[in-house]
């Protein structure tokens, strides 16, 4: 999914879409609710086994985000995503990515990834099958010129001193700086 055009200094927020849930997936445990629903195989083709008690599919770790620039350099690596809102079912993960100086102008691709695991319970005993899968999704976006890796002002102050006056600013890149007033 193309994310759009951004400038350096912008924040890009990615969220996991709502995933398809296979027919055999259960949400027996609270933990299941906290993981994204993986794109599971069609459980109906697994075959009928009357000894099977239940199937459970869940992610093994929080999803991560990586970003690759147009030169193939990994400019963001395995940044963990977090839960956006526990009230959303199925769970929705999100990550906010700041486009700092590390992310060059041009096309980039964000890639989210997580691993899901399929476990099948045979009566009283857990038995792990081979169904551990890596799920990834790509989100191209373009970084256009004219940005500033300091980001956006979120707080400012006019500071007047005998020798000069300054504009003090806090940016959303977690930067604090001052700029001398050129018209004083």
């Amino acid at each position: 999914m193309y994310l759009g055009r951004f400038r350096q200094g912008d924040w890009v927020t990615l969220t996991f879409p709502k995933f398809h849930v296979g027919s055999g997936a259960h949400k027996d445990h609270l933990e299941d609710m906290q993981f994204p629903r993986p794109d599971v195989p069609d459980w109906s083709t697994v075959g009928v086994d009357h000894s099977v008690y239940s199937d459970t599919v869940f992610g093994t770790e929080n999803p991560t985000l990586s970003v690759v620039d147009s030169s193939g350099n990994v400019v963001v690596e395995d940044k963990r995503m977090h839960l956006l809102d526990s009230a959303i079912d199925p769970a929705l993960f999100t990550v906010s990515l700041f486009l700092g100086s590390d992310i060059p102008v041009g096309m980039c691709v964000a890639r989210t990834e997580y691993v899901s695991k399929w476990e099948r319970q045979y009566r009283e005993k857990w038995y792990s099958l081979v169904a551990e899968r890596t799920h990834s999704f790509t989100y191209p976006f373009k970084v256009v010129p004219s940005g500033d890796p300091r980001g956006t002002y979120i707080s400012s102050y006019f500071y007047n001193r005998p020798h000069a006056s300054f504009l003090l600013g806090q940016y959303d890149s977690d930067t604090l700086d001052f700029r001398k007033n050129p018209k004083e």
Binding site: R5, R7, Q8, G9, D10, W11, E31, Q34, F35, N62, V74, V75, V76, E77, K79, R80, M81, H82, L83, S86, F93, T94, V95, S96, F98, G100, S101, D102, V144, P145, S146, G147, D148, R150, G151, T152, Y153, I154, S155, S156, Y157, F158, Y159, N160, R161, H163, S165, F166, L167, L168, G169, Q170, D172, D174, L176, F178, R179, N181, P182, E184
Partner: protein, 804 residues
Amino acid sequence: MASLSNCQPPIGSFSESNDGNVFFARGDQSVKRWDGLISDFVNAGVPAPSTGLSMLEEPILEGGTQVAANIAGTYFAYLRYLDSRGKVSNLSPVSGRLSMAGAKFGNVDSIIRAYGATLVNSYGLVLTREPYGSDDPQLKYLIVTSRSHGLETGDQITFHGFTLPGGGSFLGNRQYRVYVININQFILFNSLHPFDSTNNAPSWFYPYAGRATWSMAGNGIKYSNVEIPTDSRVVRRQILRNKDGNVNTFYVDIDDTDLTETEFTTVKSDTELGEEVPLRAVDGTDLNIARHSEPPNFKRVVVDHFSRTFAAVNLNYKVGSAHVEKGSTDVIGNGTCWTAEMESRLFFAGDKKSYTISSVDTDGQQLVLSEEYEGSTDKTSEYSISPEEDEKLSIHFSETLLPESWNRYKVIRLTSDPSSGEMTGLMPMGPRLFILFENRISSLNYMSDPSLDGQVSFATSRGCVNQRCYIKDGNSAYLMDQSGIYAFDGSQTVSISDQIQSIFDGTDKYSVDWARSEYFHATHQPREKVIRWFVCLGGSGYPKHALAFNYLVNRWWIEEYAEPVSSSVVGSVSKKRTAILCGSAGRVFIPISSPVDGMATGASPVRGSVSSATPVTITDSSQTFTDVVVGAPVCISEGTGSGQQRVVVSVGEHHLEVNRPFSILPDSTSIYQVGGFKWEYSTPMMRLASQPNEKAIRSFAMRFEPNGEQSTLIVRKYTDFQDTPDSMHYPRSFDEGDGVKTEASSPDILFDMTHSTGVLQQNFDSTDTPRSERNRSLTVRLEGVPNSEAHRIYSLTIEGVSGR
């Protein structure tokens, strides 16, 4: 890979103190200061040592000889740090008590030489009986009688005043170690002492005139466990010691700038101690022990009020999620930016119980809790980190004239009011400091010390959204809360936003997004008498709209900006007070300084016709663009796609690249304006004044100041409650229309703003019919994009209407 910002930081606040420093607080890190001269912001205050000193009485040797000292009494000591400006820290914990005897003195009443019995002293020296039958003693010792000498075995004394017969220096005036026999006598431990050389013949008594004295030097003090500072602000350490009998005043005993040693010694007597440091005021308050604490790092609002700086509004940190494990003290953050300053704060997660944070690993974004987590394991738990519960309604303040010295024990704690909502800020106004809540304002009055004589009282049942949403003007203020905007004179409130109340209520199509209210802010344009509240309307992350209020004429309007205006201040530019708007990409704007928006200083606005366009470019083959227009908005002012505004992100020789694709692709009919912003005005809906079946003359006329540069204005007519404007029936050029241009089937009526008469008119002829569904009302809307000159409109005249 360079570090990246992981999450948006808490919004901080600035405050300027009376010593000229500016302070910045945000609640998740130390308060910063800057003085306009140093190269960068630094942490305010001076950190205090955390461990107390150890003191030990000990002989102080120099070159193997004990240094004479006379330190007698009961002593305590503190350690403190100083920064490069001489600002001091709080004191360390106090050392243990040390009692010292000091120097001793006495007279030598008599002295005899004796061949002694075998004695074994505690120093391993054996005094033996002389060999049997020999007159030459191998070991001799002296018995000195000195009444009430007060010495102890092992003490080292020095004789003074022994003289040779006939005068002259006598080697016996030197140091000896003593063995105490009784309270009046002691033995000297020197087997071949100089006294022997004065007596060729053995004698039981020395020639002695009874004028000699002895003295014993006192020990010095050894300070150990002296903490080495790790903070770069600290450039000096001082060890403070009291004088015997007074623990209210300490003195600088050791002054160290090396910062590497952990042990120091001193032989300074009480009279030799240096600079005094009073610890207690007359009321018994331990001033220097607690008064120099660093500013509280958990408050995100600081303001200066007279000679003190106040801090309020806790940071409740909730960014990201937390991975908690039942039975574990470890917590892992996802999408968090936990800081070291969050140590000792409270962690809340799913089980609603609070846990004290023992440590924070900022690199790994992990917390260690003081006890095992009792709730259910949750890899993505919502959580919050906040200061201790009793800090929820606390207000801290600095010492008078010492904005970096905060006494942690002087705190104002407010009474909880469930209706007040969260504390949002502080507003100094006159002699009072107003404490802002979401739905209440309280007033703090004090004379000298807020913790002693401060009184907090209810002021009004209105509140304020945040610290940046009030504007003071003299002795009154204009504030915004979720109910609207109001004026406040310190006791009375007057609502002033009734004209736009639906925006606050959420009943208007443009409604304030209160979920983004932490980013709202206000600024004042003093010369124009305009206050703007920048708010989020319609989903923008940062404010892109301003609710503008002219308090001189009591009128409101709404402004929309091409880019976010995420912060603002009032400052001085070219010696004039003006609002300064701060936005994205580090850009700063001065409102009303130019008819165009967002142009770099010295750049000229560009207006032209679109030759061709793509979704993200417009080409004008007649123009050559340069980089000075990068960052400026570009607006389609006429023709296809008019009203669209984008930001120029790059230029080619003949084209502009914009930040976002056009929704309606411009074509050769389109006029673009670089630096242009679109303004709109709508008349009220007016009733058609006509008699049925009569031809009514209705027209719209405008008086304006003609522009020198090409510029047009669009007029559209709306009938009744129609959303779409009425289309014109006939094409007409500017020449044919005396400065007014229309196209058939187009609703746009173009007014040539360069028309020299300064008056343009368009007829809206229509005929009333007797049918019940006849047209009944009319609205005229104007839309313009100024070029290099402002659109100055003096009057609008609509004929054939009768008002509402």
